[in-house]
């Protein structure tokens, strides 16, 4: 049994940067990643803003090493996972029990969409190459094969909490002494399927989103990937680099209220946060920063905010939704936000919740609105909630 689970590496690609250094720079300059749609082929171009990764598929392929016909979901995943693995600086990865646990919500849907428009006209048409990697698991596997990881590979899909659950499952595999090293997180590319799905639900803001603002109008979809390299205490002890910290708490609960809506009192979020705190042995007052799920929808922010008021008391920890930079990256969000959480600890950073103006009438607290650096950040709580009531919270702590 490993006594703890340590964070040795991190990697991310989002609308605000193709790697961690670029993401930090954009956060510091308060540059959001939203804009008009450039790469996704859709009728909604110039109508709905999204947060796209600022590279086309050819450029992503050049960074990734995967062939051009690969799903954008896998391309994004491979770039962030490689960065995380390199960052960890583990020399003898093949001699360790290494796993890759990734999450996503729509797998190779970007390619399936192309296939399907031909297939619908004629069932014998459509290039099979475009649909053969449709399943979520293949996105993970293409990257695992690229990284040379075969000891344990798995994929989780619990909507927008997917990659928090991947990190959490990875940590448990290390604690149970089944694995030594796990690259864990998630990925999702923008697709017509998800853009139209959220559009029909009437929860997309036509402007840049305003999480936790009283006048919030919905979310902006984003895309990207984020991974952490989790290691056992034994591996952690062998590394020469400074670790980011440890995963000290995690909890998964179900809201069991509605397929898509959160309960008004935020039952699921409340249980996830209190469960993670209990596991970490920390008090609510120990949390220095909360990376909110904070999608910007009426429903999420009220449920999450209400749950936070139930768990925490004034003086509230600093908090912000980095979805105000990256958009809501769905299956990738928990991974990307876990990366931002460990960076917060490493550099003492707190990120601003962009475009916040008016406090929510129901809440007695407001999010952080300016970028801070060099703060003593010891414990960060990261929330991820999704369709199907799936709520998960992670707590990262300084060593």
């Amino acid at each position: 049994m490993s006594t703890g689970v340590f964070i040795a590496g991190a990697g991310a690609i989002t609308a605000i940067g193709n790697n961690i250094a670029e993401c930090i720079s954009a956060l510091e300059k308060e540059q959001a990643g939203m804009g008009e749609i450039c790469y996704l082929e859709t009728m909604h171009r110039n109508k709905i803003p999204v947060a796209e990764v600022k590279l086309n598929n050819e450029e992503l392929c050049a960074l990734s090493g995967l062939p051009l016909h690969t799903s954008r979901t896998a391309l994004l995943s491979s770039i962030a996972a490689k960065e995380a693995l390199q960052d960890a600086g583990i020399e003898n990865i093949s001699s360790l029990r290494t796993g890759f646990i990734s999450a996503n919500t729509v797998g190779g849907m970007d390619k399936t969409e192309k296939f399907f428009s031909n297939f619908l006209d004629d069932l014998t048409k459509g290039r099979l190459r475009e649909v053969v990697n449709h399943e979520c698991g293949y996105t993970t596997e293409l990257v695992a094969d690229l990284l040379g990881i075969d000891h344990y590979v798995s994929t989780i899909s619990t909507a927008c909490s997917s990659s928090a659950n991947a990190i959490f499952f990875a940590a448990r595999l290390i604690k149970q002494d089944m694995l030594d090293v796990v690259i864990a997180g998630g990925t999702d590319a923008l697709t017509k399927f998800t853009l139209n799905g959220f559009n029909t639900l009437m929860i997309l803001d036509r402007e840049y989103c305003k999480p936790f603002d009283n006048n919030r109008m919905g979310l902006n979809l984003g895309e990207g990937a984020g991974y952490l390299v989790l290691v056992s205490d034994r591996v952690a002890g062998s590394l020469k680099k400074q670790l980011y910290g440890k995963l000290s708490g995690y909890h998964n609960a179900n809201d069991a209220y509605h397929q898509t809506a959160s309960s008004p009192d935020g039952t699921g979020s409340f249980l996830a946060m209190t469960g993670a705190l209990a596991r970490s042995g920390l008090q609510p007052s120990d949390i220095d920063y909360i990376n909110l799920h904070g999608t910007g929808t009426q429903n999420n922010d009220l449920a999450e905010g209400t749950a936070i008021s139930r768990v925490f008391a004034a003086p509230y920890p600093m908090m912000s939704s980095t979805k105000s930079f990256t958009g809501h990256t769905l299956g990738a969000s928990g991974g990307i936000e876990a990366v931002l959480s460990v960076l917060s600890i490493k550099h003492g950073m707190v990120y601003p919740n962009l475009r916040f103006k008016t406090p929510m009438a129901e809440l007695g607290f407001v999010p952080q609105t300016s970028f801070l650096k060099g703060r003593p950040i010891k414990h960060v709580l990261s929330n991820s909630f999704g369709f199907g009531g799936n709520c998960s919270s992670l707590i990262f702590s300084k060593l």
Binding site: C136, V153, G197, T267
Partner: protein, 357 residues
Amino acid sequence: MSMKIYIQSAAAISPQKTFGQVPFLTEPVTYSGNRLQVVEPDYKNLIDAKLLRRMSRIIKMGVSTATACLQEAGENDPGAIVTGTAYGCLEDTGVFLTETIQRNEELPPPTAFIQSTHNTVGAQIALMLKCHHYNNTFVHNGFSFESALLDSVMLLKEKEAHNVLAGSADELTDNSYTILSRLGLYKRNPFSNIDLFSSRSKGTIAGEGSAFFLLTGEQKPGAYAELCGMTTFYKPKSKIEVEQRIISFLAEHSIGVNDIDLIVTGKNGDARQDLIYEQLGQTIFSGKQTIHFKDLCGEYPTASSFALWLAANILKTGSVPAVTGYKGSTENKLKRILVYNHYQHSYHSLLLVSAVE
């Protein structure tokens, strides 16, 4: 100290009559084509009619199987719900994708989108039970069910849950059948499932289904079997590696092949994919009583859950259904069953189950 895990209850909706109070595979359902579809129960008895109208086939199938599994064990608040599905909610995904394309992205109706997420089955079970506990969904191709099972066993060992509802659901739709046929998965000519193992040709037969199990860490009356162990291995490089994996898995449980009373393999009728089972039949499994199950449920990425249902029922009833072609005696009660399955050469899994004392 290692902990014992028991299968307290089990339920399956499959292309055979497996659901509800039915005899154990005594009346096999035969199919003349290469597509097996689940025998659907009257869902009205299991799910509220209002909910039922909106549910796609996989949701009905998964939720009903889970409900029956819990009812059998008299449990209405399982400590966790863990689901495996390779394809997820394909029908709803296909409907929303079709609407999006055909309406040229002009507001396709949202219901199918809402229900298309891969965690819908697990979420609907939680919603019906108002179960706030741990809830997770694994979507890793031919390891989806095995991943769910591993998570469940870990939850019990970690004492995170007093019991876990673990299962799988996968549906075959007209579109997925057409696409998988074009990819060459299935036999080209109409082929009866009862003759599956008699031809040495390319391709298998398509299947689907759902199976759920209530796993517990303590032995209670009525338990089907003990789940002694499980493991997976991804893309083994040779037959030798597969043999070594099996031998060392058994060794971890302090037994050898001779201690196994029955082997259940994932033979699916595809000559190339079946080669490994035949080779093992000549080497480490030589002389062992062996049965197969994919002639009953068809091939699909979570078919190993049907095999676990079959093995658990064999151990509970002490009988092996004649339809499996079992030739051994059941005078001495079967004690240990090893399930060895692989899906498309890549996903190999071993499940070891034994009779409860």
